[in-house]
Amino acid sequence: MKHTISVLVENKAGVLARIAGLFSARGFNIDSLAVGETQDPSISRMTIVVKGDNAVVEQVCKQLNKLIDVIKVQDFMGKDFVGRELILVKVSVDGKTRHEVLQIVEIFRAKIIDIKTKSMTIEVTGNDLKVNAIFDMLRPFGIKELSRTGRIAIARG
């Protein structure tokens, strides 16, 4: 099961290592991890996406809570939340395919952020479905590079 875990932590050195350590000690591979300051600059939010057995993830969440620098832990599993990711993708293009790629970008309401004769860099924001869908459409043109932020999430309401 894929879990999206939101962790509010003290914005201090070493905190990331403590959190990552809890996962790596169990041999968990973190799918994605995004960190940034919150409205209170002394607090950061980490959004961690991880695959794992529910009971094990529940135990990990309890242990995250036990870390001194962790203020709050929320597993969004089964909860109402919004998750978004931003990706930057550099696609190969030439005179013939450029137009097709532009169309795809438009349909998905993505953005062109850089154009060269042989490539185009596209910015996409959205949930997993959208991001994966546009990526599948672009793949046949040849992906030169891909960079993703990983999911960030927030509870609804």
């Binding site: 070493g14 290592a17 403590r18 000690a25 309890k62 001194i68 962790v70």
Partner: protein, 574 residues
Amino acid sequence: MKGAEILLDCFKKEKVEIIFGYPGGAVLDIFDLLYKSDIKYILTRHEQGAAHAADGYARATGKTGVCIATSGPGATNLVTGIATAYMDSVPMVAITGQVPTRMIGNDAFQEADITGITRPITKHNYLVKDVDELPHILKEAFYIANSGRPGPVLVDIPKDIQNAVTRKKYPDRVDIRSYKPTYEGHLRQIKKSAELIAKAKKPLIYAGGGVIISGGSREMTKLARKMKIPVTTTLLGLGSFPGTDPLSLGMLGMHGTKYANLAIQSADLLIAIGARFDDRVTGKISEFAPHAKIIHIDIDPTSIRKNVNVDVPVVGDVKKVLVELNKCVKAGKTESWVKKIAEWKKKYPLKYAKKGMLKPQFVVEKIWELTKGDAIIVTEVGQNQMWAAQFYNYINPRTYISSGGLGTMGYGLPAAMGAQVGCPDKLVFDIAGDGSIQMNIQELTTCVLNKLPINIIILNNGCLGMVRQWQELFYGGRYSSTVLNTKGPHGKKGITYCKDGKCHSYLPDFIKAAEAFGADGIRVTKESEVIPALKKAIKSKNTSVLEFIVKPEENVFPMVAAGASLSEMIESMA
């Protein structure tokens, strides 16, 4: 004040009575100030000894143990001691020196990333990057170490920070927004527990080290006696309930009593208090306490439902929860259960065959006869640890001190030293194996120089007994790397050590070693010599090493093989 002065000020304000440490380049400034101050400190002979001594002091007194080491190797030598304290929830503050801030990360001389290394084995740790932060970091360190579920906290202080000056004062209070342990149990959960207890016909208390840590022994004893509920304890729970009480079942688990394990397997209600369902306790988890509903009282929410499903979890301080529970609990009908347990105790006592060579169990029994629970028994790890648990009755909390979670050989001697420092009027024993004692034997010097009259009981079976036992039972008797004496157990050939035409079968000569370290040494080979030797050691004001040459192939029984159900006890060699 300078950073190092802040540290000493902190020791004073936290009422630190004793520091165990070892000097080096990165802590010179701290030791220089210690030299000038009236704070007591003990120079151990190894940093591992310092960490275990701080741990033993903490377990014997409930106060926070403090140790200091220099950067690099000094700090890494603390690691085993810190991990030991972490596994057994022992309050400890470890101070390490670090290379100057500007050199961190440059592979400077004696640099080790000790906060990185100890991250998974400390409750929390700090690398101090700014002297202004030092006062509140130290305050937090002491607070975190000995609140909630206690544990070790390490503070790594670079040398330049020790010399940097700050105007910040040592704070009186701390408030950590992200650390708020739950002390009060939820009343609804406590009421639910009381209801289950009132309905139970075969209730059983399973008490762990948490009972002792919280100071909840008296409340638990009250609960058990009033409600007529039998009590079994874990290794670290020994002493939380008087071992001589008719309701006491002694220890459960891998080397638990048969009656304790039978009781677990038949109980209809298990009240787990300050215990964590460790695999050495539960055996095969799916077959553990199959008929029991489970109440679990623990301060650490991560302990609950970690290994077993629980019907009524109560998160809170054991003592506080028990006070509330005792107010509302009503007894169930447990008479026939208590009677049954008395029968089991009579039918399946702990036993050993007395014939042949001196038996290690006999030695432990004699220590009991002479002290009747009025002593602190520290142990090493292995068979010695189990016999000390089985053949001595612990009456009071903090009288059985042992590395349970990590199982650290070499723990006993330095921990006994710490316990004796913390409890100068108590009689302290270290029950040891000939393997374990060699792991920190250098601390004999520390004991002698500091006039610590601890009594080291070496049960010399000439082998790494506990591992040899597993080899005998599960590895076809192939004693691979477990033979320590030169003959080898059972006449199987070991290494021969001959000098001046004389062949010695035991090496080292512990008596000569003891004397070389300045301790008294007594060797005992016969039953009749046991009591006189013990009496002599108890009377002596010096550190005593008593070496008992015991039967090499004696085994610890009963035994539940690793991963087997508690119902499958091996009671003797087939």
